[in-house]
Symmetry: C2
Subunit: 267 residues, 2 copies
Amino acid sequence: MEEQTPQPNASVQSLNRALDLLETFPRLGPEIGLSRIAAELGLSKATAYRLLSTLETRGYVERAPDSRSYRLGLRAFELGMYYQGQLQVRQVALPYLREMCAQTGEVAFLCVREGDAAVCVERVDGSVQVNVFSLRVGGHQLLHCGAAPRALLSGLSDDEVRAYALRTGLPACTPQTLTRLDLLLEDVRCTRQQGFVVSLDDVTAGISAVGAPVFDHTGALLASISLSGLTNRFENERVAALGALVAGAAQRMSRQFGYRGTGTANQ
Amino acid sequence: MEEQTPQPNASVQSLNRALDLLETFPRLGPEIGLSRIAAELGLSKATAYRLLSTLETRGYVERAPDSRSYRLGLRAFELGMYYQGQLQVRQVALPYLREMCAQTGEVAFLCVREGDAAVCVERVDGSVQVNVFSLRVGGHQLLHCGAAPRALLSGLSDDEVRAYALRTGLPACTPQTLTRLDLLLEDVRCTRQQGFVVSLDDVTAGISAVGAPVFDHTGALLASISLSGLTNRFENERVAALGALVAGAAQRMSRQFGYRGTGTANQ
DNA sequence: ACCGCCGGTTCATATTATGAACCAGAGGAA
DNA sequence: TTCCTCTGGTTCATAATATGAACCGGCGGT
């Protein structure tokens, strides 16, 4: 209770604690015990227990089969799926993702930005089976690693990219990850010019992708799409073709949202 | 503040209010204004605003593009997808769902029980395009309508079925819905005997399905699977074949969970 | 039989959430 | 234009609310 919260806005602390609690499950493994949770959040067991009880009766938290520890509950899932179903950019994107998959056999992703991360909101698999993607639907990825994330990054201004680099420090996923700001800025400009990102092994070794950003009628960055697959299927000429494909799809999507620009320098 | 909550367990009321608020979005449309929310929840605007602000800074609520009204946020989606990814029954079920789809061309569902409703946690589409299913992934359905829901119902005891009927009143979705307790009990017993449910137009006209329950090693009901499609593809002989297929898949799943019984009367 | 740890519970305390009343601004009507 | 009525947002004194130290009873290992 000896907090010195600057209180930037009105806020409800017990709700914040409950949200911290819910987010503990993804952080610390699917099932956690009461004492662990309390310790982790810096709460007394009583407080943690009350929060857990409330969340449990509401279905946002379940008891594990051993009935000792807790895990995330079904209601959380229901809310999340409702969000996905309502997301209009997803509705617009789905046919394009399917089309790209059918044409190429690769895997198509749709991502939106959340702060410094890209969140994958949809994935459509093509004919080629690949299961080593680090990006799950509903999962995060920093904006400078991967095709769809970097497509989002390229939709930001240079200043925003610089600020992003300062905040995150551009950690590397693989030796191919762009970890220097100057190279990243250059890449971002190149991306804006040709209309698509090329990502070769920069998030997972052996996985490559191409991606492109989607804008709305105000020119604001809305989402990004990508085509991912095994690196050995991404040789030079095909990369150009795939890039043109995603860039074209992204541009048609942007038009559908009323965007009048091109998002590229040529064309 | 003049509540007479019997307080069955420890509970945090501001958290309850926040959860009510989140659940308001699925109930009352994707985007809602502050005043509407406050009125709907019986809160003062100040309280609703504080809850919304907290949820918004945490990403569980977003502002609509018009920046006046609120909608569900990306974090809710992330949590939900984490739940789905961790759900072990889904991991086990997926190959079976895919197999059934590939063999039949129909659409396969996986449902789990949540109180009086079945919640769809996975859907795998076959070769036949059908988009009129009332059951979305993450969506509800009362237990007495539809193949997968009724498969869950058949996993309950007769007394539980009776209690369910009393609670819900067995509302009808279509003229084919079983709305009489005696018929429902008979159907449930029949289901247990033959090992699968047959659902003909009882939730949506023109849509039929077969389903079967999945049990764990303690014999507790874990989930149910179903195959759904256009009714004109569900003539008598094929229904029997499809029923045997889902019942077999469900039984193999149950075995995988350590269930030693058969769940049926024959075999 | 012991000990330590677990989840769960109690209760006096004061921190915390509360809503009536209040702004400022947007949009419609006249 | 002016007026009016909505909206979302803010303030502040009040008391209702959440809080954690200390406490159980039970389980598992030693």
